[in-house]
Structures are given as structure tokens and as C-alpha cells.
């Protein structure tokens, strides 16, 4: 990696900025540029470079390894089970609005799942809580069916607006699960207290369940009640994992690079703090 000229240049720039940071901190807050936030700027620049670099390499055809995510491998299996049983697949893209990042991730995964259900002609049901999520979901599913050459199988009611209030939505979906008994339930997005209500009802209905959320407080409920659970950023990785699109994979690998840098920083910090020299290093990460 160090053989690349651009990488060396960027690393030199980074080290220079880091060295300058100590002088920058001493300046007053009346300056035009918030030099006390330079650590955030460096992190942002590094993050952007990592993402863009990996996207570029992915586009060039460089193979990018992603570890197996059992929950996502099970999606196709779950849809296959539903097809064999002649039952439907229930997909919930979270209960938040379209401006929530997790909902966007959920809708993105819905597109991939819709392609699989279109391929196998499996009924798909997508209850949503907000009208704007309804609109986005309908477009995504329609596009998926068109891409799979199953335009005639598409029905606008696949994605349906159910209720605007959290527990009204939950009560309605629970009723749907107990009446229709879908073979597979897929929960991908932002969930709150209703996570256990949905998952436990789905379990009672005998469905195979795959869940994914970036909310750590809901993970225990999904883990207890679902067959597979995607934790935290695995939800954001799901879209890239299922599609294997270079743009998505590149973004994922860029994130991983940042995580490696954070891990290295933590280890360096632990060593320095243990030896009693960690204050200056810790101040580098002071958020303002």
C-alpha cells in the first residue's frame, strides 16, 4: 500500500496536520476556522478517502472480501421455504420515517429481497408505518419486479400502509401474522419496543425470522426470538452483501479500514495510558 505515491502523499499530509494540531489548539476561538475541530476534519477526510478509494478499486475489478453473514445467506433460504410452503414472505423495513438511515438501509434490502421473491413468484407483503416509506417501498419493489421480468406479477398492494402509530402498526401486523401465517418474516431497519411484540408473534405463527437493526437495545429481543439476527452495521452492510455491487462493497471496505484505524488507536492509547504518557494522545481525540 505504501508503494502508491498518493497514499504516501496523504500519509505525509496527515502527519503534518497532526503535528500542527498542538499549535492550533493554543489559538483563540475567535478565529474564522475552528482549529479546535481539526481532529474531526482529519477523521472526515480520512473516512472519505477510504470510502472513495475502495469504491475506485471495486470498480476496477479488484476482489474485495466480505465475511459470511449467516442472516443474509438465510434470506434466500427463507424465501425458498416460503415458496415450497406456498406462503408469503413478510418484510418490515423498520418503523421510522424515510429520513432515518436505518429505514433507507431497510428499503435497500427490500429491493434485493423483492428480486428474490419476484424470481420465485413468492407472495411478498410489506406493511409500512409512514406514507413516504410507502412511496419509496412501492417504487423499489416495482423496479425489482421489472428488473426480474415479472412486471405482471407486481401488485401495488405488496407494500401497504398500515397505521401511523407505533403500537397500532404492531397490533395490525401481529394480526396479519396470526391470520396469514407467513413462512418467513424479515425485519430490517429501526425498531423500538415493538421488536419483541413482532418477533414473538412471528415465532408463535411458526415463521422463520431474520432480523437486523442498528439499535443495540433491541438486539437482545431479536436474538431471543429470531432465527438470525444482523447486528449493528451488518444491517448497513446487508445491501452491499446481497447485491455485490462494487459501489456498495467499496463503501463497506472503507468503513472497515476506519475501524482498523480506530482499533489501532485504542491499542496505542491503552499502551500509552498504562505507561503514563497517554494524555497528549488522548487530547488528539477530544471532541469539541
Amino acid at each position: 500500500m505504501l508503494r502508491h505515491l498518493r497514499i504516501r502523499f496523504l500519509l505525509t499530509l496527515l502527519l503534518t496536520l497532526v503535528a500542527d494540531y498542538q499549535f492550533a489548539v493554543a489559538q483563540t476561538s475567535d478565529d474564522i476556522f475552528r482549529v479546535d475541530r481539526i481532529n474531526a476534519l482529519i477523521t472526515f477526510v480520512l473516512f472519505s478517502i477510504a470510502i472513495l478509494l475502495y469504491i475506485k478499486w471495486a470498480k476496477e475489478g479488484k476482489p474485495l472480501f466480505i465475511r459470511k453473514i449467516a442472516g443474509l445467506d438465510a434470506v434466500e433460504e427463507a424465501v425458498g421455504r416460503a415458496t415450497e410452503m406456498g406462503k408469503s414472505v413478510l418484510f418490515i423495513p423498520g418503523i421510522q420515517e424515510i429520513d432515518d438511515i436505518e429505514t433507507i438501509a431497510g428499503i435497500s434490502i427490500l429491493g434485493r429481497v423483492a428480486k428474490i421473491t419476484a424470481q420465485y413468484d413468492t407472495p411478498l407483503v410489506v406493511p409500512v408505518r409512514y406514507p413516504m416509506v410507502l412511496a419509496a417501498g412501492q417504487e423499489v419493489v416495482e423496479q425489482a419486479y421489472i428488473e426480474m421480468g415479472k412486471r405482471d406479477s407486481y401488485n401495488r398492494d405488496i407494500v401497504r400502509y398500515v397505521a401511523g402509530e407505533q403500537f397500532a402498526f404492531t397490533a395490525t401486523v401481529n394480526g396479519m401474522m396470526m391470520r396469514d401465517r407467513p413462512a418467513a418474516n424479515i425485519y430490517m431497519g429501526a425498531f423500538f419496543a415493538e421488536s419483541l411484540l413482532l418477533a414473538e408473534t412471528g415465532n408463535a405463527a411458526g415463521s422463520i425470522q431474520i432480523a437486523g437493526t442498528a439499535r443495540p437495545e433491541q438486539l437482545p429481543f431479536f436474538i431471543a426470538a429470531c432465527d438470525y439476527t444482523l447486528m449493528g452495521e451488518e444491517l448497513y452492510a446487508a445491501s452491499a452483501y446481497l447485491s455485490h455491487e462494487p459501489l456498495m462493497l467499496g463503501g463497506l471496505k472503507g468503513q472497515d479500514l476506519m475501524k482498523v484505524l480506530i482499533i489501532v488507536s485504542i491499542i496505542i492509547g491503552i499502551v500509552l495510558m498504562t505507561l503514563g504518557f497517554g494524555d497528549a494522545f488522548r487530547n488528539l481525540f477530544e471532541a469539541v
Partner: protein, 226 residues
């Protein structure tokens, strides 16, 4: 146009907010733009609530008009929206029943209908967690045994009689070892803290990556494009 304009708007909005973060709002135009944008966002946010009401009304009215299955519930939804909203929007000076102050129709409906209904739905979780725990907390393998033991200890720690029991166990079997304090130190502030931090960092990076992809127009799912 339908595709390009939202992408450009997303890019410009994100770019302005990121760049303005690094400039002093009192000394620079960019910093002042950020303050102004924030005020505009709250105004636009208010209109999206209105949009939500319009959309909900439209969807439910369509279901009632076409007499879709369960249309009675859609009608009830519409009635509920207007019975609560209209009196709340009327000036309180006309009648004590209007507005949203204590004693108004809105206030009464909220505290006597909505409030207990929502609390009841949430309370159902107690039953569901019991049945989920009965089914899932089985010592099938080392990991699930660890989950089971940890969950039991934390459940005991969070109740006074459980805490007293743990103290007693520590005194009689573990030579006075303070079990509740250890649970707080090693489980809540130890393993739990570390794991939560890891998940938070990962999720934050994932969200940041997705935000960057949205800004750069790589991710367009929010527009309905897969």
C-alpha cells in the same frame, strides 16, 4: 431532472452542513448559513408532519371509499384524526374545550384514550419477554449458558429482593464477596460497556458511510430507486 435535482440538493445540503461545522458561526457566512438552515429545517419539519396527516387521510379515505377489507377501521382512524385535531386547532378563547390545554377535548382524549392504550401495549412486553425467555434461555451450548447466567444475575440485581439474595449468597458462600457491586462493575461497566461501545462505533461508521453515499448520489433508495 427527477433524479438529478434530488441528488444535487442532497449533496449541497450535506456539503454545506459539513463544511460549516468547521467555521465560526459568528465570524463567517458559512457558519451563519448553518444557523439559518437549522431554523429552516424545523419549519420544513413542521410541514412534513402536515404532509403525514394529508397522506394518512388520503390513504384511509381511499380504503373507505373502495370499501376495502376492514374499511371500518380506516373510517375510525379518520374520525379519530379529525375529532382530536379540529378542536385542538380552534382558539381556546372560543371555549375551554378547544385548544390543547388542560380541560380541552384534545387533552381529555389524549390522557384518557391514547395514554392508557399506549401504556397497555407497551405493558404487553412483560408477557412476551417471559415467554421468549422461557423458550430462548436454555443452556444448549456454552454461549447460551453464558447468556442465561448473565441475564439471571442482572434480573436479580435489578430488584431489591434479588439484590438482598445476592448479598446473602456472597456472604454465606463467597466469603463476603459483594455480588451486586461486582455485577455493576464487571458486567454493566465491564463487558456490557465494551460491547455497547463496539456496536455504537460500528453502527456510527455504517451510518456515516451510508450518509456519505447518499450525499455523493451513490445511494438513491430514498428516492425509490433500488
Amino acid at each position: 431532472m427527477r433524479t438529478i435535482v434530488p441528488v444535487i440538493v442532497a449533496f449541497l445540503a450535506g456539503f454545506v452542513m459539513i463544511v460549516s461545522f468547521f467555521f465560526n458561526p459568528e465570524r463567517t457566512l458559512l457558519g451563519r448559513i448553518e444557523s439559518e438552515v437549522l431554523v429552516w429545517v424545523t419549519i420544513v419539519g413542521g410541514f412534513t408532519l402536515l404532509l403525514g396527516v394529508v397522506s394518512i387521510t388520503r390513504v384511509n379515505w381511499q380504503a373507505v371509499r373502495t370499501m376495502k377489507e376492514g374499511w371500518g377501521y380506516n373510517l375510525l382512524t379518520l374520525l379519530s384524526i379529525f375529532v382530536m385535531a379540529i378542536p385542538a386547532m380552534l382558539p381556546a378563547s372560543w371555549s375551554q374545550l378547544f385548544g390543547d390545554a388542560e380541560g380541552s377535548i384534545y387533552d381529555w382524549l389524549f390522557f384518557h384514550v391514547d395514554y392508557p392504550m399506549m401504556a397497555t401495549m407497551f405493558a404487553m412486553l412483560a408477557f412476551y419477554i417471559a415467554s421468549a425467555a422461557y423458550r430462548a434461555f436454555r443452556a444448549r451450548n456454552p454461549e447460551s449458558t453464558l447468556l442465561l447466567v448473565t441475564a439471571t444475575l442482572v434480573m436479580l440485581w435489578r430488584i431489591p429482593m434479588g439484590e438482598a439474595f445476592l448479598i446473602q449468597v456472597g456472604d454465606t458462600l463467597l466469603f463476603g464477596y459483594n455480588l451486586p457491586e461486582s455485577i455493576n462493575t464487571y458486567i454493566m461497566n465491564g463487558a456490557n460497556l465494551a460491547v455497547q461501545r463496539g456496536i455504537l462505533i460500528g453502527a456510527a461508521l455504517g451510518a456515516a458511510s451510508m450518509s456519505l453515499r447518499i450525499m455523493l448520489g451513490i445511494e438513491r433508495t430514498y428516492m425509490g430507486k433500488g
